[in-house]
Symmetry: none
Subunit: 235 residues, 2 copies
């Protein structure tokens, strides 16, 4: 199992590497936030351990950068004990937060708990409907035309909205969950931008945007992604 450790302190990096290697983990390391993002993109680790106080990009920015395209479990290991730091990191997308100094066996148990819960998030990370193919891992959308296939460009926000919807096929996603998933837990009332992004997504993905077939709206409740009826991906 590949684990990425990002910390600017070589001491900690070395200690963690030894501890995890001895337990059979494959350890990748990074010393800056930018380096951490690069490593994550190229090697797709199954767990990311992150320090908050790194140069170039701080921990929160790294979390947001990761969460833009990956569901990998993120464990923050930080010297900051202030609860505000914890709240910020967790709300940004981290899954757990451990303060230094930490007990080695507890850290290992938390790592086991995090990796246990995600036994391969999705064995089929590419979702197809109509002429569209959504590759969640590669963060890419392709539309097949008669002359091959073309790349559909989506903005970050459009991606997050689409991500939530396609991860819940056939299920109703309420306006509120969509808002909190994309814009954060403090957003609960819609002033109208959800409609906007749904319209843009439909313009880019639907065969007939004015008559949506896959990104269906349920009046007064929310939205729903309806896969093709013959799609074998049913779960």
């Amino acid at each position: 199992m590949k684990v990425l450790i990002a910390d600017d302190d070589p001491q900690i990096l070395r200690a963690l590497r030894i501890m995890l290697t001895a337990r059979g983990y494959d350890v990748l390391t990074a010393r800056t936030g930018a380096e951490a993002l690069n490593e994550a993109i190229t090697h797709h680790p199954e767990l990311v351990m992150l320090d908050l106080g790194m140069p170039e990009l701080n921990g929160i920015e790294v979390i947001e950068g990761l969460r833009g395209w990956s569901q990998v479990p993120i464990l923050v290991v930080s010297g900051r004990t202030d609860s505000a730091d914890k709240v910020d990191a967790l709300d940004a997308g981290a899954d757990d937060y451990v303060t230094k100094p930490f007990a080695a066996d507890e850290l290992l148990a938390r790592i086991r708990a995090l990796t246990r819960r995600t036994p391969t998030v999705s064995d089929e990370p590419v979702i197809r409907f109509g002429p569209i193919a959504v590759d969640l891992a590669a963060r890419q959308v392709l539309r097949s035309t008669e002359a091959g296939s073309e790349i559909v460009r989506l903005t970050p926000t459009e991606w997050q909205v689409l991500d939530v919807l396609v991860r819940n096929p056939r299920r109703l996603v309420t306006r509120q969950t969509l808002l909190t998933e994309v814009w954060g837990p403090q957003y609960t009332s819609d002033t109208g931008y959800l409609r906007l992004y749904l319209a843009q997504l439909r313009k880019k993905l639907e065969p007939v945007p004015s008559h949506p077939r896959y990104l269906v709206t349920e009046a007064g409740m929310g939205y729903r992604f309806m896969p093709d009826a013959d799609d074998p991906a049913n779960n």
Copy 2:
């Protein structure tokens, strides 16, 4: 979102209930391990907060009992700070571990982190009667016809009424309960719209809307959902 809190200390129970209720969570409580398991089985909460030192069954046993059939996120809130306790709880199946005393905002952030990750993989509460299948999780109603199945569209209010009824199979639901559940606690007298929505539901769901078989009215009292007699889902 339903949250089950299991703790033998009434003080903590009360504090947590207030804190979570204010944030919009539906709080269930239990004072013993056995009670916690019972509550979990009957109400299927989306998060379980657990104290380790409870009578009857200790925390670890409760975790194991839950994990036997449920993937619900488990957050341990315990006074024990020993790392061995944390390791045991986490390895038994808990997802996070917070020691008392805890910071309220951190606890809330951890709750958000835990519930965010699970897209409510909840067990499949599909209720069937006649040609109708009600999928509560997906918020979808299907009617099977000779040529496959078609989607039945329900308005939000129709959904809420149906939701209350099917969650109480064979039980009488008084007019007042229905009103307060759907329209809010201040509504107590019916000016006639309940009749309206029942009529619409019957028109959409009953085989013979003029002679209701599943959505039965009890004159002067309320309504009752009667499942098929041979339905194995009896609880």
